[in-house]
Symmetry: C3
Subunit: 365 residues, 3 copies
């Protein structure tokens, strides 16, 4: 926030809601934590453990929930914006300051970019150096294509889409409004489909894999964000679909024909095999693997590194990963795990022996 630009609390509530308690004309020029903020900055309270800092803060303004406001022992000298969700409000205000401070970019096509004459690019779009936009593509208002981006034939990019450097979008894919794709991500590569055409077995085996053409595309709804170097494959016959406001982290793989439900978040390094359906509002942890052709209900949470091999039909939290143990301890348990059936047999033998003895005792009695 090196910029000298400021916003008044009234302007903030006009844009983002909430109620001012104090001077609405108070102007702030940036955000800061409670213990660092000064009179011309706005701070926020999103976690009970920082409540105590309010007593000594020098912040001129503060975002707070109605419940937390009631708990305050000191209010003097602070102008509040009261909002049910100060953390989300903070995020919105932070973005507003970034937008204020951002260098102005001039719309237009960089001289080093290549835009096919049969593509349609909005005059408000910013097409960066070394970008390629192929024939039939449609690029919406205020779209930003960074250096080295490749937009294939017939791709549709909604308004305010931002593709970071070196993103590739294959032919025929569709991105909704405000979609953000981070650098190196690949949208619409061929799904992994090959028909085996082999005869014989072992040394006599002959033939090959025959590529199954992938004629679907990828259809991404509004407000989706996709992480760096993530890959989302095009469908085989139908489209792969990412519904609105899905958030996908870096290095995630989504196979062909998948559908990811609205508002679902997928953490880094997760992999989802083909033709899988994930519900709305799910949370998929880091490095989770999900098999192909399964369905996850809405509100399913899968914890990090777990593996889903069957459909999960009810909301809830699912797990299949172990936390680390010291190596020797792990190996001791793992050796027993490999021979769990022997432990079970020993238990069975004990049960039989005891039953035999009971029978003997009964006989004697």
């Amino acid at each position: 926030m090196a910029s000298g630009m400021t916003i008044s609390l009234d302007e903030l509530t006009q844009r983002f809601g909430g109620d001012v308690m104090g001077k609405g004309a108070h102007r702030v020029g940036g955000l800061a934590p409670l213990d660092k903020a000064g009179p011309d900055q706005i701070s926020f309270l999103a976690n009970q453990k920082y409540l105590v800092q309010v007593e000594s803060t020098r912040a001129g303004a503060m975002l707070i929930s109605p419940a937390d406001l009631d708990k305050l022992t000191r209010r003097d000298g602070i102008n509040f914006i009261v909002t049910p969700n100060p953390y989300a409000y903070f995020a919105r205000v932070a973005q507003a300051f970034i937008d204020l401070a951002a260098p102005k970019v001039t719309p237009g096509v960089h001289p080093s970019a290549y835009v096919d004459p049969a593509a349609k690019v909005a005059a408000s779009a910013v097409i960066g150096p070394h970008v390629t936009v192929e024939a039939g593509a449609v690029v919406g208002e205020r779209v930003k294509l960074d250096a080295g981006v490749s937009v294939g034939r017939g791709v549709k990019l909604g308004d305010d889409v931002h593709l970071y450097p070196n993103v590739t979008v294959y032919h025929g894919c569709k991105l909704g409004a405000r979609v953000i794709v981070h650098a190196g991500a690949v949208i619409g590569a061929d799904g992994f489909g090959f028909a085996p055409d082999f005869v014989g077995e072992g040394e006599a085996r002959a033939g090959t894999w025959v590529k199954i053409p992938q004629v679907g595309a990828v259809d991404i709804a509004d407000d989706v964000e996709i992480g760096a170097n993530t890959t989302i494959d095009r469908g085989a016959m139908v489209d792969t679909v990412i519904e609105e406001s899905v958030k996908i982290d870096n290095l995630v793989q989504i196979g062909h024909n998948c559908r990811i439900g609205a508002y679902t978040v997928i953490a880094g390094c997760a992999g989802i095999a083909g033709s899988t359906n994930i519900g709305k509002h799910c949370m998929i942890g880091g490095a989770v693997g999900i098999a192909g052709h399964v369905t996850l209900a809405d509100y399913v949470i899968v914890t990090a590194q777990s593996g889903v091999s069957k459909s999960l039909t009810k909301p809830g939290i699912y797990t299949s990963a172990f936390p680390t143990m010291p190596h020797a301890d792990w190996n001791r348990s793992a050796a027993l795990y490999r021979n769990l059936d022997k432990l079970r047999e020993r238990i069975k033998s004990l049960e039989t022996a005891l039953a035999d003895r009971d029978a003997d005792a009964d006989d004697k009695a």
Copy 2:
């Protein structure tokens, strides 16, 4: 298949084999499932469960196996191509229709591309926008280099290679005929090799990692397909080798000096450490990890998310991953797993107690 172009069944059997049963002159303009196909489309039966759809299909033509043909109760109005593998045949026909409908590309080098004067590019190749081809590279007939591709010094690309946008091939690597590499993949980056040159321990430790130059390259045989953002490292002293018709999915990592046997398929997010040898016709599941310096026999199948730490010398299916359970159930089992040795000791105590009792009883008797 918006194109008005059609192919006769005779033409198809001439190109792809199989026998026509019905009118060989019947022309089809596209593929469709049995329940959607019309008289000018060709359908296929690759799965018994769709057998019933044949009775009501409007398809003018159909791919079928001899065995399934015998099971049909209705044949009238349908022209058949009889082939042992209708699914692979379908894939070939689908590709033929795509080729028919594809926009014609003009061979040549895009004005924005940079081709070093000391590179050799076939006149039939299509070099896209912002492509770089460095000195000594040899680019074969009909090769297609999409936007932003980087081909290093001395790289050899066989005929009909297709590199999708933003692929990087490092110096000295070799790709056989018809190799397809999807966007963002990196072929021939340095293997991960560093010699420790440290003295002392703990706080007194001094020194550094010394990079071991990677002077091998990557040698990829004919008909290999490589997924988006996959990485295959160059060898340290010898080449990393990918044999013919290997199919590799997205976001796969293959370490230096590996050899992947012909026809092996590797699913997304798998990682193979250095100097490992995978046999022919293997199937490596998604997110599988394979340690370095191990060998997998031909026809080994490793299921998704499993970890291979030792050589697998016999064909077969191998596994080491759990499916998810509800979180609480998992935690209950995991807590017991961490203390499996205690369960074993309790079993041992029981066995000892029972044996003691038997000894006592014997004594008394």
Copy 3:
């Protein structure tokens, strides 16, 4: 080493240390293993098992440790460089030969590159085809930016940095001297942070995810190497920090706000969630997952595919991954694992039964 250039042993010890035993003026033109080296090549002994090859080697020179030198039964005709770490010495010599043989590159900016007038590029830097360097960036001496690299606003690149093709560095990030980044890696993409702003549950749920602006950057110290298609996210408020001489393999994900301690190595496909602190001299195995907000002590080793969910406060080796078993064996153990509590109950019943009997026996006695 096709080049005719040679180096004398004296020159090598001047550059890399060690003591010549034999003729310091002896010139070598390349490296080779003991069994393949000729009189004008230098070999090395870094592993006891090759000791026997010294007897028959034709190598004119050899790198050896003082301890191994004592074990030699033959020394005639070989000129030695004696050094405590022949393997690290070999790596340095190998690099020297590569540098000798490397094609001379002319400093300067390729005509197809775009360098913003407000960027500062050292005259000794080599800016390749289709590179983008944005305003405010500072590019150090002898930096090499390969084809398609994108360097964002205000990025600082230290001397001798090498960015391979299609690397993206987002605005404001800083790379120290001699940092190597392999193709397709992305430095400084937005961390994965969204504030939930939803009200209601189930079907009534409304609202959205609000993006939390990521205003930190990535700060990478000297001598770091980063693998192909690896992603390192920028911090939310503070910088993500990679300390000196960290070595990171391909397809690794490092979340926002992380700090990776000096000399730590991270193998391929590992994923580290946000705000995690890894100590110095750690070794993180392939495909390891580390949760967010945890701390690893110095000298921690995590074996491949393990999952770290809590802080590891002591140096040592940690594990949580199983090696594969034949599929049927695995399934048998896994089924018992899922019902471990039942085994425990059976043990408990046995213990109770035995105790009851003992009580009965006591009563009778």
